[in-house]
Symmetry: C2
Subunit: 212 residues, 2 copies
DNA sequence: TAGATTGTTAATCGATTAACAATC
DNA sequence: TAGATTGTTAATCGATTAACAATC
């Protein structure tokens, strides 16, 4: 039975379901039961059935789930077929690493532009993506529908940039800076953080504490 | 009262506590109560007191917490003062972005070496860090105590590299590849994932679903 | 002392797991 | 049909919040 409000615990598991289903699909697996998927993912079958049932009944008694169908359903739930667009703010090492290596298209995003202040970069293309000067950011955002801005700018300008793009109606900010952008200060945009330091410190705790 | 087994929910909040305490410390704040820290972090005071009490009693009734002291305690809990060392596997864009921009030292890690196969890079230094050929990885790890290896290699070789370093006694693997490295297959090393795609897809779900 | 705030115990809430009727 | 497996309801477990005595 479809649920109204999905808990964030469930949402955070969806991309992993997608990844596993995509692997299975590429391997040619046709069907899978909740229990075998659970086994390969290190979850319980109950949890998988509960999670999926938040969005509808995608399985069949006695059979399990059709991999291709379920993969598509999860992709749809995640919004992978909505022609989302993305612009990168800050074409330093990290910004370029994402431009050159991250498969935006495979995740349903079209990378359309990058912005920087470096005159060496502005006007060029990096991996096919045009780099514009940050001064033209607002004009660009007015003229192009951008769903998500990637924040790979220096920490000092992170908050200002976030406010600028949020004010222009961008729906999401993918924040790679170490700066906290409180959701309450960005009333119009969702903020998703990738805090490298938090991740490394978690690992630091684990290795300091005990062996796995 | 010190607890034995700390839940991962608590552990994942510790780096954020550290970040906020460090900010307060740098601003010269001397003391803080659980309720004002809670307010600025968007948590409840109860939760903060519960979390901290897993590790000991760091506060004082009627006063609150001494910022400098609590910052040090959290740093200690996180293992930031253990002279951890780190080596980067894969000096592509992402590896270089980490080498040049990520403050390993501020997080208690000493960046000692990078490994790659590119003859253009091997033998050089990047941001002061020597780059060695991957062929010498095992020899290096035998002679140097490396706590954590950063996995910024192409997906195709990720699992093989992970096994190699785990076999050499590395305690942690900081995994930036999109490949899943099941903890059960790495019995000796903790794996901490930074899955860019999972993060972006979570954001994709949020912006597809509703405004914040 | 009076006021403030902790650490901890108890109550509540939510998420995970187990069980099972429905059914392919 | 018999066996398998779902979707869902109920039971359990764990995490968060509330309350309050202790005490600085």
């Amino acid at each position: 039975m479809k649920k109204d409000k999905i808990s964030s615990a469930v949402i955070r598991r969806l991309p992993r379901y997608y990844r596993h289903l995509d692997d299975l699909y590429r391997c040619g697996t046709v069907r899978i039961s909740s229990s075998s998927l659970a086994k390969s993912m290190g979850l319980t079958a109950s949890q998988i059935r509960q999670d999926l049932s938040c969005f509808g009944g995608f399985g069949q008694q006695g059979y399990g789930y059709n991999v291709e169908r379920l993969r598509c359903e999860v992709a749809d739930i995640l919004g992978m077929n909505r022609n989302h667009t993305v612009a990168i703010l800050g074409a330093g090492n990290l910004g370029r690493a994402l431009m050159e290596n991250f498969p935006f298209a495979d995740n349903g995003f079209c990378l359309e532009a990058a912005f920087d202040v470096d005159p060496e970069l502005v006007g060029k293309r990096l991996s096919g993506t045009p780099v514009y000067h940050v001064d033209g950011l607002e004009d660009y955002l007015r003229e192009h529908q951008v769903s998500v801005c990637v924040l790979t700018v220096p920490a000092g300008v992170a908050e200002a940039m976030a406010r600028r793009v949020a004010a222009c109606g961008v729906s999401g900010i993918w924040n790679f800076t170490n700066v906290e952008l409180p959701q309450k200060d960005m009333p119009n945009a969702w903020v998703e953080d990738v805090h490298f330091a938090d991740s490394l410190l978690t690992l630091s705790y684990m290795i300091s504490e005990e062996a796995p």
